[in-house]
């Protein structure tokens, strides 16, 4: 390789790097709002992986495109290309590159996961009743009891044990560690708040401790992320992150409201006439009745 080739290749590599760094910065804008401490960590990781990924993608596709455009055989050229069967040095290099990249990405991912620590402290032993008992014995007095999250076909219900409030909307104070205890009464569900970048399957027969820290006030979507049957898509509600004062205010207001049935898409759809063009009358699991709660949210509530 002469000097001009080396300089040319180095120039292309720098160009590739600059474009990749720019794409990596764009990656932040492809995500929902950053509403939790975890979301900042995950977005940094995603931006890092997008930068590396773009570098490799553009490098390989660029090489292929060059070959396709400029290394075509002439129409009547029936000769073969150079009989190069391999190159040990090159093969060692391109085995080493993915190994190094993988260890790099793996380490950054490990550190990210470690800093998120979204599974509750008891989760290494994690099975049903023993966990619940251990939690009551071990947790320090100052920590508030975790909010119970009940998933069912097809509704979300949140129970604040200290105030004995039930709600179909999850209210959380900003900048405080949110501690939840997830349980399901029927099938698998998934607790997923895109703005928080956290997700955990809710497994019937288990109580799973789950935690994260909201950092931005607002109204965000909570979706069922593990397929749960007929009305799976409709099984969503909102999470409201608010200041400590507003949160306390909400708790006080909600405690004063007497329980009423909340609006529930699945239950209402099941009980009304079919509206779709193609309904073959296939039988479905009957939705659980609308939850009876102190604070009932509506499907028409706004969210970000």
């Amino acid at each position: 390789m002469n000097r001009r080739t080396i300089l040319g290749l180095a120039g292309l590599a720098i160009l590739d790097l600059l474009i990749s760094l720019w794409v990596g910065q764009q990656a932040y804008s492809w995500m929902p709002p950053q509403a939790s401490a975890e979301s900042v960590l995950v977005d940094n990781l995603f931006s890092f992986m997008t930068t590396l990924g773009s570098f490799i993608f553009l490098g390989v596709i660029g090489t292929l495109l060059y070959a396709v455009l400029f290394q075509r055989a002439a129409k009547y050229d029936a000769s073969d290309g150079p009989p190069i069967e391999g190159n040990l040095k090159l093969e060692v290099v391109w085995t080493a590159i993915p190994i190094v990249l993988v260890i790099w990405i793996g380490t950054v991912s490990y550190q990210t996961y470690d800093r998120m620590s979204i599974l509750g402290p008891m989760e290494s032993m994690a099975m049903g009743m023993p966990t619940a008992e251990a939690a009551t014995v071990d947790s320090p007095e100052a920590e508030p009891a975790p909010i119970n999250v009940y998933a069912r076909q097809w509704a979300w219900e949140f129970h604040y044990p200290e105030q004995d409030i039930r709600s179909t909307e999850l209210h959380l104070p900003v900048d405080q560690r949110a501690r939840l205890l997830l349980s399901s009464e029927d099938v698998l569900h998934g607790f997923f708040v895109p703005a928080f970048r956290v997700k955990q399957d809710v497994v019937p027969g288990r109580e799973i401790g789950f935690e994260f820290t909201p950092i931005r006030e607002g109204r965000y979507r909570l979706r069922d992320s593990e397929y749960s049957g007929t009305y799976f898509a409709a099984n969503q509600t909102n999470v409201v992150v608010e200041s400590t004062e507003a949160y306390q205010q909400w708790l006080a207001t909600a405690a004063a409201i007497s329980p009423t049935p909340a609006q529930n898409v699945a239950y209402e759809e099941f009980n009304q006439e079919a509206q779709s063009t193609l309904d073959l009358g296939w039988k479905t699991v009957k939705p659980a009745p609308a939850p009876i709660v102190n604070y009932a949210s509506s499907e028409n509530d706004s969210h970000e």
């Binding site: 995950v42 290309g81 993988v102 990405i105 991912s109 996961y113 599974l119 997700k199 397929y227 898509a233």
Partner: protein
């Protein structure tokens, strides 16, 4: 060849090709591996069209946010059957078809090791295909629990009937497993025992290496899936409690059984397509496969690693943190042998004398789509990022770039490349290129928008969604309809070329390989004289002969005599 020795063999000891040498043989219990290969491919493609039609109805539903085109139960049945058909009725049989047709020709064998077993394995495919389609017509409709059939949803059975969509689904999947195991035993034995004299392991074409690696996965993985399916069927029908939590079972245990096979199954699907890339690129770049031995061995390394990565499907499931971290690292390790292959293909193409036939275009398209899918795949291996996009459209986008981008494009590359060999006719390049352009645009329009949707938090398997997701969904739906249209020029090309295309020579691409030394289409039992192999494959640019003898010579002389 004289007829005398044949009269000494008792009838039925040697399998007979069966029906006459015309189109009827494709509807018979033929034991000719080439007939069975084409039977597999054509039947699988018909199911591919049906699975695609279901997808287009789904995209019709998803073009608007509300659940309005089909009832939610119908939508859930559609995505369940779409996934099941595309995997069990399209990719597995299609790849078995390619392996059946090509492996004996490529290793210099007259047929597969067990020709009757081969035919029996094929004829199970229409049987479980009919069972699967029939489940649309039982009360309550087909299975609506997704192709994973996770309990407890898969155990709910709202109709209360013993014969229901879910039990038929489980029966079909179990039969599919049996058929695949029969195929795997046959293919592995054939590759081990029936290579032509002189064909050591490192003189065997890369496609055979990938098929061997893939079929070994079938042998160790399928028992786990079949066991899981049988336990689920018992839970569903006779009330055992393996996975039903209300009776003391563990639903997460099922996920381990399921993914222990179903993740490696992805490599069963992609490995032979890697083999197709390794065969196609050298021919149209006129260069040897770069680093052939490393490429060959990396297939087996992928097979080994594929068995220890399954929990990456369960990062958001009921799994402890240590398990998530362990499987994150093992999953990322797979990118090393895969990366080696990608770089080797690029180096094969680089500096060659490229000829962009339709087969080469699909090969290049498949490679680029696989590169993209591989990069999003490494992102998904990273547990903290996966926890955000797990079960969202990001995953759907990722695996459609693998399956539709790489596997379907690779399939088309294979079909265009070997079409002259299979039929003795040339296809129309113009129609082929139109097919390529429509497929490439359609699939990117369909599957690229799924990535931003997933990042924004749209879950997969939803019949309705929040209005903010509408924009990208409209694009994806238009892409899906275009992808549906793109199959028309292909079907037209294949049928008209086969019926009245220009006759192909034995080796129209001037390719190096045993299959190109015999007539197009190859005669029954392929080789008049078993070839003796002298050199490694892909000797482009060097003058070494591939074989010591010309396997067509005696046939040619016999033909001229008669």
């Amino acid at each position: 060849m004289s007829n005398a020795p044949l009269e000494l063999t008792p009838p039925n000891l040697q399998p007979q090709p069966g029906a006459p040498d015309n189109w009827r043989r494709f509807f018979s219990f033929s034991t000719d591996h080439k007939v069975i290969g084409i039977q597999y491919i054509v039947l699988a493609f018909i199911f591919f069209l049906f699975g695609g039609l279901l997808a287009m109805v789904m995209r019709g539903e998803l073009i608007t946010p509300d659940s309005d085109l089909v009832d939610r139960t119908v939508y859930n049945g559609l995505f369940t059957m779409h996934g099941t058909i595309m995997l069990f009725m399209w990719t597995f049989p299609m790849l078995n078809g390619l392996a059946n047709y090509l492996v004996p020709l490529m290793i210099g064998a007259r047929d597969m090791a067990f020709p009757r077993l081969n035919a029996a394995a094929f004829w199970l495919v229409p049987v479980f295909g009919v069972i699967l389609i029939a489940s649309f017509f039982v009360p309550g409709g087909p299975s609506q629990s997704g192709w994973w059939a996770y309990p407890p949803v898969s155990l709910q059975n709202p109709t209360g009937n013993l014969i229901n969509g879910q039990s038929l689904w489980l029966l079909a999947v179990a039969l599919s497993g049996i058929s695949s195991i029969m195929g795997a035993v046959n293919i592995v034995t054939t590759i081990f025992r029936m290579r032509a004299p002189g064909m050591g392991w490192f003189k065997m074409p890369a496609f055979c290496w990938t098929v061997l690696s893939a079929q070994i996965i079938q042998l160790f993985g399928l028992p786990a899936l079949t066991a899981g399916a049988v336990m689920l069927l018992l839970d569903l029908t006779v009330g055992t409690s393996f996975f039903e939590p209300s009776r003391g079972g563990d639903p997460v245990l099922y996920q381990h059984f399921f993914w222990f096979y179903s993740h490696p199954a992805v490599y069963v699907i992609i490995l032979p397509i890697f083999g197709v890339f390794s065969e196609v690129f050298p021919v149209y770049a006129r260069k040897p496969l770069f680093g052939y031995k490393v490429v060959a061995v990396s297939s087996l390394i992928i097979t080994g690693l594929s068995g220890i990565v399954w929990v990456h499907h369960m990062f958001a499931s009921g799994t402890p943190g240590w398990m998530r971290m362990l499987f994150m690292f093992s999953t990322m390790a797979i990118s090393v042998p895969t990366g080696i292959k990608v770089f080797a293909w690029v180096a094969t193409i680089w500096g060659g004398k490229l000829r962009l036939t339709t087969g080469m275009l699909f090969g290049l398209g498949g490679l680029s789509m696989f590169l993209f899918a591989g990069i999003t795949g490494i992102m998904l291996a990273s547990a903290p990022f996966d926890i955000h996009v797990n079960n969202t459209y990001f995953v759907v986008g990722h695996f459609h770039y693998v399956i539709n981008g790489a596997v379907v494009m690779g399939f088309y590359a294979a079909i265009y490349h070997w079409f002259p060999k299979m039929t003795g006719r040339l296809y129309y390049e113009g129609l082929g290129k139109l097919h390529f352009a429509l497929t490439f645009i359609g699939l990117n329009l369909n599957f690229l928008p799924m990535h931003p949707l997933g990042l924004q938090g749209m879950p997969r398997r939803v019949a309705s969604y929040d209005p903010e997701f509408a924009f990208w969904n409209v694009l994806a739906s238009l892409g899906a309809f275009l992808l549906g249209v793109s199959t028309l020029p292909f079907i037209l090309n294949m049928i008209s070329s086969w019926v009245r295309g220009e006759e192909a020579k034995d080796n129209p691409w001037r390719a190096i390989g045993l299959e190109w030394l015999v007539a197009s289409p190859p005669p029954h039992e392929n080789f008049e004289q078993i070839p003796v192999i002298l050199s490694a494959p892909y000797g482009y640019g060097s003058d070494e002969p591939l074989t010591a003898n010309d396997p067509t010579k005696e046939l040619a002389s016999e033909l001229s005599e008669s």
